[in-house]
Symmetry: C2
Subunit: 290 residues, 2 copies
Amino acid sequence: MPQLIAVDWGTSSLRGARLDDAGRVLEEKSAPLGILNVPNGDFAGVFAAHFSDWMKPAGSVCLISGMAGSRQGWHEAPYVACPAGPDELRRRLHWIEPGRIALVPGLSDERDDVPDVMRGEEVQIFGAMRLADLSEGLFVLPGTHSKWATVQGGRITGFRTCMTGEFYGLLSQHSILALTLEADAPLDEAVFLRGVTRAGNDRGLLHNAFGVRALALFGRLSPAQSASYLSGLLIGEELRLEELPLGREVITIGASALTARYALALEQRGARVRTFGAEATWAGARALLG
Amino acid sequence: MPQLIAVDWGTSSLRGARLDDAGRVLEEKSAPLGILNVPNGDFAGVFAAHFSDWMKPAGSVCLISGMAGSRQGWHEAPYVACPAGPDELRRRLHWIEPGRIALVPGLSDERDDVPDVMRGEEVQIFGAMRLADLSEGLFVLPGTHSKWATVQGGRITGFRTCMTGEFYGLLSQHSILALTLEADAPLDEAVFLRGVTRAGNDRGLLHNAFGVRALALFGRLSPAQSASYLSGLLIGEELRLEELPLGREVITIGASALTARYALALEQRGARVRTFGAEATWAGARALLG
């Protein structure tokens, strides 16, 4: 087994880990050098500055996932269409130095006449599958653009992106709701769950969002509560459209501040939730090696 | 019959009309002096500067609708709860000079545990009812915060606000979609209607909005088309939740650039559309006099 360096190079940050044969993390590092912050587009230089030490041992292999493989990244690694698992992606790695440094392609879902895309999340899903020893299930990756992916037979069969985090930022900072909303307030769980429940009505997000304003005008939501309520409305809107039979296991992957909110909302719907963090990325890179 | 001066004093503009006994407009004026732009909060001064000439004839009455009656306006005229028609509002006029100058209260819909509110649109609806000779129907007022109101027995029985215009502004100018979208492009009707149709699926606005990005990445929507498609998605999301039996008459009220889009979308759903503009505001003030 070669020494594996796993790198997640996204829009806003660069993170890497050096793994042992069993996939255990020996060392990690990160820098605020997302693909939009690479000086002069010198991806090779930034890569070398951070990882050349780790790459010294003969036979070292580095797999880079995330937006580094996009058109705005180091090189474009074209999307692989679903259904796809680690085998399909391994065959379509985009080698920058053959046998040594590769970009992991993203996934596309083209079952519909409107395509959907992900870059980086597919590796996290493969990693969570490995860590949870699952070859099927529902995987949720909350974030600016949340992903809901279905896995069957060890492959991602389809997924849905929701602009939940981005909508939260726009509404809480730039809309009329910002006038009576404290965006950084700590979570009020009860109010958050009221928002989740409210999203399940049949009046739509465009209307329910205005309810934040109306409740504030009527003195029924404080600025701190408004933040929790809006967060609940948006996450509830995401969940509203998922079939979640009672007791269904859902795997969430991401930073704990966000996955905790999804767990609250999912558990209210009767789902069982398991959560993974950064370790899913590293385990996913290991899964790609075979 | 006293001489009536009808004023619509909103967030961004001040408009007024002098009417004859039959409610015909003799003269109109407008200024970019919305309630947020009134110097030193001197509403009385701005009012006098624009309308004291018109108010000279003995017995002149001025009715002011819109945000001038909000907490941030001239005086707060508390909301009147639905169901309410011209009679209920006439009894609750907030007189600034008794018998001479009054603020029209807004409406609230409190059938639900989350209230909804409007200020100014109720007068436009009463006016359109009068002009169309209708005492029931579905009324749509597109805008930053669109209103869908149901009228029965000459009274507004309930309504729903949708933040459609505001979402369009946020998404087209401040989200990731802005990277590949020409917000001011002229309407492409076919692409707009594709967006309307797309909104009728069961995947939700948070997902469908991301489709604008994915379609652009795949070269299937130009920046100009993306604007029409996003507009269709949002208006389609509004329509999605309305029961619209084939041939149902819908009254739209507003500026023609917007009402034309709603007419396209509504007619695609099989509705019959009649449209009114500023004349609805003046006719509504007349209706309030009894």
